[in-house]
Amino acid sequence: MKTTDSPTVVTVATDLQDERLQARDGLRGAVAALLDRARSGDLGMVPVAVGLVVIWTVLQILNPVFLSSANLVNLTMESVPVGVMALGIVCVLLVGQIDLSVGSVSGLSAAVLAVLFIGQDLPVWGAILAALLVGVVVGWLYSQIFNRFGVPSFVITLAGLLGFLGMQLYVLGTKGSINLPFDSGLVNFAQLAFVPPWLSYVFVVVAAGVLFVSGFLHARERRTAGLSARSLPVLVTRSAALLVGLGLVVWYLNQTRGVGWMFVLFVALVLIMHYLLSRTKWGKAVYAVGGNTEAARRAGINVKAVYSSVFVLCSTFAAVGGVLAAARLAAANQSSGTGDVNLNAIAAAVIGGTSLFGGRGSAFGALLGMIVIQSISSGLTLLNLDSSIRFAVTGAVLLLAVIVDSVSRRSRTSHGRA
């Protein structure tokens, strides 16, 4: 629900004429609408934001280094590879499917990258391209099996989890580990490339500016069409909040190394996915297939093509994640993409508010969810707790997120928000 302002417009906007609608004017109205939605179970990213504050507070109390600029810079960088994978998971979850193999696919792509780059002396971009192609092929394979035989995605990708791990080990061969040279552009990008402070502030200003201008143009277009629109104060407040919030974050990170280019890449991917999911026909089809597959089919949507696109996208993101992880580690080895990578990617998506039941979630969720997961991981590492506890805590957090998802789904059903 949007709000109206503009006393100049005498007639009521087309979408506000029903007398049962409560007037929601200006800023106060915007806040009220937000609270309304939260109450009815449409929680969006509220739980994850709250969770993040709690987790950060606790970890900071346990170890004062946690919220230091240096650690947060590290945290942003570390979160990228799995975060990119989580972005793919968001897409498959949106259509009501799952991919349990992103870890293995990332490991395989890392192995392919290393073997081609180091073993075969291919130029780095060629190796990267080949590694990404692995992801495309895997996703295409999944989608063919899924569409043709109707095997549940959970089983297909479980088979993939094992199968591609096997392939990763095979590709790496007897050595089991291949190091990437530190002077290569790829490793440099993942470890040492940081945005100069002045440029990072430019980014912040541009972001706030773009948000304002696009919001303003959209509001003007709506008003011209006789629809209600966000008022100027709301738009200004929104952009100012972004400017200040993002500005503070960037400033704090700039106290030490600053904002990594790899993190910028992650944010860019999130923004692109957000656009694709919310502003394109394809995005609507994805949500429709996740919400009611039969209705989507009857609306003339090529459901199989949607599934294919999503599986390919997810595996490709997994491959991107694998490349970035290898670059970050400056190596591809037998344990690349194993361990908790899979679970972390899924947990990040779910914690970020993407429903396991399909049809709801957002790209930004992957970003926030990943920050939560990485915070836990980094915090526990700082406390010198070993991975057994880290696994257990991550598992518990995932469970909590799923419970929140299930409960809010029930609440949505009873409040008619499905």
Binding site: M1, K2, T14, D15, D18, R20, L21, H218, E221, R222, A225, G226, L227, R279, T280, K281, W282, K284, A285, Y287, A288, G290, G291, N292, E294, A295, A296, R297, R298, A299, G300, I301, N302, G359, R360, R412, T413, H415, G416, R417, A418
Partner: protein, 262 residues
């Protein structure tokens, strides 16, 4: 414009449709009536590409056509309002209306879509407070209106309505009947499935009766009585509807006024 010949469809052991013939001309409203389970919705689903017929031929604009998918039906210009509505509950009204036919695929024109949605909904006297809520938040009748509005997008040539007024209020029912008449004036073919004889009498040109998956009579609405239709639906002149009417001592018109139980 559209004609079906010898359409058959079985679900396992159940012959849902056997040897069905049906014709719809441009500017004609064909009511399809029949008891529960007579096969009406199955017929609709065949025409809209949800099911494929096991036998028979469909001719559309004097070409034999195959309707393998809902998308194919859309392309031919056959729009359908399904009995089970087929809406996505997680999407809002605008998104549902334009699902699969969004304006400006790569940069959705939400403003134009919302404006157009309001136009359509107003035309149907829809009582929907806001179009930006998920469809899950709407009442049954509101959903039905959304489903009907959906079928009007994209200039269809034939509109199939499967019990369109079943959940509607008095005003909205009247609007739908008005709409059907307007569609006829605009030269569209309309297939209307209904259990309501009053609706049939009000707008249909011909009535096709299905009984146990077979054609059981085709009547001109002008010169057929409700009794005759009911007799064809139930398969006997001495049917439960007539008996009730006789008991009330006003044989004949009661059924027409009450409508049949659905």
């Amino acid at each position: 414009m559209l004609s079906l010949r010898g359409i058959g469809k079985t679900f396992g052991a159940v012959a849902a449709l056997t040897d069905i013939d049906l014709d719809v001309a441009a500017g004609q409203v064909v009511a399809v009536v029949g008891d529960n389970g007579a096969g009406k919705s199955t017929l609709v689903k065949i025409l809209s590409g949800v099911h494929r017929p096991d036998s028979g031929a469909i001719t559309f604009e004097s070409r034999v056509v195959d309707i393998p998918t809902p998308a194919a039906a859309h392309r031919l210009g056959i729009a359908t309002v399904f009995q089970d509505l087929a809406l996505c509950e997680n999407l809002n009204v605008v998104e549902n209306l334009f699902l699969g036919q969004e304006l400006r695929p790569l940069r959705l024109n939400t403003v134009a879509m919302e404006t157009r949605s309001w136009e359509l909904l107003r035309r149907l006297s829809a009582k929907i407070p806001t179009v930006r809520v998920p469809v899950a938040a709407l009442s049954g009748g509101q959903r039905q209106t959304v489903a009907i509005a959906r079928s009007l997008l994209g200039n269809p040539k034939i509109i199939i309505l499967d019990e369109p007024t079943a959940a509607l209020g008095v005003a909205q029912t009247a609007e739908v009947l008005n709409l059907v008449e307007r569609l006829r004036e605009n030269g569209l073919g309309v297939i209307m499935i209904t259990h309501n004889m009053a609706d049939v009498k009000a707008v249909a040109d011909v009535v096709a009766v299905l009984r146990l998956g077979r054609n059981n009579g085709l009547f001109d609405v002008k010169d057929v009585s409700t009794d005759d239709i009911v007799a064809a639906i139930t398969g006997a002149r001495d049917n439960v509807v007539a008996q009730r009417a006789a008991r009330r001592g006003e044989a004949g018109n009661v059924a027409a006024e009450e409508g049949l139980p659905s």
